[in-house]
Amino acid sequence: MILGSTLFWSAILLLMVGISFGRMGPSFSRSNFSLPIIIMGILLLIFNNSPIENPESDLLDSVHGFAPWFFVCSLGCFLVLRGSPIYWKVRYPQLSIGWIIILLSFYLFYEYYELPDNFLLVSLFSSLGAILSLFLFILLVRFVENSIPLEDPAPELTEEEKDFVKKIISINIGVEEK
């Protein structure tokens, strides 16, 4: 594999790693690195000037047509979400700018992006493969989780632990501890 193709796959790997780092839960402290890694992947994809061989060069052509409308549309969707009355009152500036940007993305889509002739076949069977993989993953995780023996119930808190919990709750709700 030549350097350009290696860099291309490194960029894809960085994007996947960045998205994986963004998850919530016990590994949430890693989410701080999510955005920088995603940006690094995008920059590597954009500024990779080394020659790329097939099949990556065909894919890169598709990405070049896809990226303009995708990023513009994502920005528009983000602004519309910020402006919509979902959790707070309607914010007209964000809402109207968001919709203008989404309309602009439609223009970019028709101008730069070209769906292949067999797009139904590709989308249908790629989705089928992806769904099959997800289904197998769910089965595997279920198998592993079911094979772990249940742990004994946790012992009751000691007096010291109870005092500690009381102290934390009192601080959080702003009540003096008695």
Binding site: G25, P55, P85, S126, L136, F137
Partner: protein
């Protein structure tokens, strides 16, 4: 095998391998004390290898296993790039509904200061 059937198989295996590959990366990079990724990662790697061997035996343009994996991942990513516009149409429909939605009165949020 006819070329149409082969094409269908390539796209299906492409989506399959790309998702498996993404899930392996996800499990490895979001590792935490309570996760048990060994069995899923091993089985998924094995499935990727089998899929690559199938592609390698069916596609004359592909010479090595690495070539088969590259070819399938490209097919999978192209499939995703085609599906995303349709997903965005659904998202835009819900955004349209959210934009013109009237939020119900909330005693806490809407009460005068």
């Amino acid at each position: 095998m006819s070329s149409a059937l082969l094409e269908i198989l390539y796209y299906t295996l492409g989506g399959f391998m790309l998702t498996n590959f993404s899930l392996i990366i996800f499990q490895l990079f979001s590792l935490h004390p309570y996760s048990k990724p060994t069995v899923p990662v091993v089985v998924q790697s094995f499935l990727i290898l089998i899929s690559a061997l199938i592609i390698n035996s069916l596609n004359d343009d592909v010479e090595t296993i690495v070539g088969a994996i590259r070819f399938s991942l490209v097919e999978g990513i192209q499939g995703i790039l085609i599906i995303i516009p349709f997903l965005y149409i659904i998202i835009i429909y819900f955004l349209l509904r959210a934009s013109f939605r009237k939020r119900p009165f909330d005693d806490l949020l809407d009460s005068p200061e």
